[in-house]
């Protein structure tokens, strides 16, 4: 249900607000917010350096285009693959907890930035420039498709046995392990899936932007936006990160570009209020559980996975 709605709204996007660059960036943020949703919402690890996977996807796809002259679809696939490889490399960080994990991922993403910015084979000094492989419209269609597929993945993560294991680990890893859940493997899979999402988002961004320096792909504000979008809408839901990204990124488009400091102020206050008074995000206001409001559950009488409470 929410899949159809989101897909339809995004497909109708250009006729509502004709600015394809804005809409495509919005879909990229939706992908990133969903990635954060999977890592933070379902496993409880806050990936402060999530932008590292976004950057890895950007450079993986761009370098493939520059050196191997691959097509657009292959570039997206290779971008996702690069991010997954990066995620495998940093997966030992999953052994850390809480703030240590958050700060270590941040450090890893910035270390990657310094490597990319200082090496010549990554065009660190001259900047990257790519041929245009897709028209803006084709790219937007592609990114809407990516969002819909991502939502399918998130629905699966939420409702499947796999998602149940994740939530069990999140509330108590030791008990989950005793109940027969393979903690390390389950957690790592979620981590890799989220990285792949960020990689696809990065590849789409590279195809859209086509000329950039390393500062932009690894800008920490991208991590932060993705985290806040997800939290604002509500993590552990399917629709929450989408709502968060749409509302806040539109707000950014409206005041953030002309008056960045006012946007930053509103944004900061919003984060404080959110953490203190609405930790469940906007969708928790609608009632029921997550993105399924109570009336919806009554109407469809849908069976859902039992909730795991700590």
């Amino acid at each position: 249900m929410p899949l159809v709605v989101v897909g339809a709204v995004l497909a109708a996007g250009p006729s509502l607000y004709n600015n394809l660059a804005f809409l495509t960036t919005l879909t990229i943020y939706i992908l990133l917010a969903q990635g954060v949703n999977i890592v933070y919402g379902f496993t409880g690890y806050l990936p402060f350096g999530f932008v590292g996977f976004f950057g890895a996807g950007i450079y993986g796809s761009s370098l493939a285009i520059v050196y191997w002259h691959v097509g657009g679809y292959a570039a997206i696939g290779l971008g996702a693959l690069t991010s997954v490889v990066a995620a495998v490399i940093v997966s030992p960080l999953l052994r850390l907890s809480g703030a240590y994990f958050a700060l270590a991922t941040l450090a890893a993403s910035q270390a990657l930035y310094f490597i990319v910015a200082n090496e010549s084979w990554t065009f660190g000094e001259s900047g990257m420039s790519l041929p245009l492989l897709f028209s803006p419209t084709a790219l937007y269609v592609l990114s809407v498709v990516a969002v819909v597929l991502t939502l399918v993945v998130v629905v699966y993560v939420r409702d499947s046995h796999f998602g149940l294991s994740l939530r069990a680990i999140r509330s108590d890893a030791v008990s989950a392990a005793m109940a027969g859940v393979n903690v390390v493997r389950t957690r790592t899979i979620a981590w890799l899936v989220a990285a792949a999402l960020a990689g696809v988002a990065g590849a789409l961004w590279a195809l859209m932007t086509s000329a950039f320096y390393a500062e932009t792909p690894f800008d920490l504000t991208i991590s932060v936006y993705a985290i806040v979008f997800a939290l604002f809408g509500g993590v552990r839901t399917v629709i929450g990160p989408v709502v968060g990204a749409v509302v806040l990124y539109s707000l950014y488009q409206y005041i953030g570009i002309s008056n960045p400091q006012y946007f930053e102020l509103i944004y900061g206050l919003l984060i404080v209020v959110l953490v203190l008074f609405l930790p469940g995000g906007l969708t928790s206001l609608v009632g029921g559980r997550g993105d399924r409001p109570a009336w919806w559950n009554r109407v469809v009488r849908r069976r859902s996975a039992p909730e795991v409470t700590p």
């Binding site: 703030a99 958050a102 700060l103 941040l106 930053e264 953490v275 203190l276």
Partner: protein, 290 residues
């Protein structure tokens, strides 16, 4: 050889200053598991106070240090009362506090941008360069290091020689047992919070010298550096923080001397190395891994 010697001495001088920046953060994280991502921005605001003082009142910027302390105590108390009681009830205090203080950090950056603009502001040099081992070092660099030493000593005195410090260490070690032994945890936590913030603000004027000026976004990098230092030096250990600061200062100034483009990567690389190889820090007893 002279370059090496210069890098070594300035590394130690910078390191003492970084230790000063780290101790306040160490206190907040050690006592309450609060991840104060606004720490660097508080330092920057202390720096802006010194800047305002010199530009409007034309006094020595170091007077901002005693002035910033009462301001930070009051501001810290207000911030504490608004945020911490609710935060302590959250499902995951540590991660929630990280996000919350990131919001606070954004607010501080936005307000600094509105008041002071995005340009770098600097303070006038304090005097003639000081000679150490026959090489000149900026007076402000030496003065900052010289002021960091008594600040670290004061911190050590508070934590190890006062009753409040004893209670603070008890809460750090085990909150529930501290409660059971009659420690007033809330009072200890409040004091630790405001003292931590006051240390951040007091380091601000020095930061303006040490970093060659500040702008509203300087704070983010400082926060990461401070976290690196306290993790290197182990949580809840002020001497460890001082040592971590010096280690960081040395690593940073040696990189600056021999591989300048990579200087920015030093805190990140050190942080990664320490959390992966020795998460309890170099001077810690407890290993803390998930």
């Amino acid at each position: 050889m002279r370059l090496f010697e210069y890098a070594l001495v300035s590394g130690v001088l910078y390191g003492l200053f970084y230790g000063f920046i780290g101790v306040g953060l160490n206190l907040l994280f050690g006592v309450m598991r609060l991840v104060n991502l606004a720490h660097g921005d508080l330092v920057v605001w202390g720096g802006y106070l010194a800047y305002s003082l010199t530009t409007s009142a034309h006094v020595n910027p170091l007077w901002a240090i005693p002035l910033s302390i009462p301001l930070a105590l009051v501001g810290g108390l207000i911030l504490y009362l608004i945020t911490v009681p609710r935060l302590r009830r959250a499902e995951d205090t540590e991660t929630s506090s990280l996000i919350l203080f990131f919001g606070v950090s954004q607010v501080l950056v936005a307000l600094a941008t509105m008041k002071y603009g995005t340009n770098q502001v600097t303070l006038p040099e304090l005097g003639n360069p000081v000679m150490i081992f026959g090489q000149p070092y900026a007076a402000s660099l030496v003065a900052s290091a010289a002021l960091a030493v008594p600040a670290l000593a004061l911190f050590y005195y508070y934590l190890y020689r006062t009753r409040l410090g004893l209670a603070t260490r008890a809460v750090m070690a085990n909150e529930e047992e501290a409660v059971a032994s009659g420690v007033r945890v809330r009072r200890v936590a409040t004091s630790a919070f405001v003292i931590g913030i006051a240390f951040a603000a007091a380091a601000g004027p020095l930061a303006t010298f040490m970093l060659g000026g500040i702008n509203p976004t300087t704070g983010g990098g400082l926060t990461i550096t401070a976290f690196t230092i306290i993790i290197i030096g182990s949580l809840g250990n002020p001497l460890g923080t001082a040592a971590g600061g010096i280690l960081y200062g040395l690593a940073s100034s040696l990189t600056q001397a021999y591989a300048a483009p990579w200087t920015g990567m030093v805190p990140y690389a050190l942080l990664l190395a320490v959390v992966l190889l020795r998460p309890s820090g170099l001077f810690g007893r407890r290993v803390r891994v998930a």
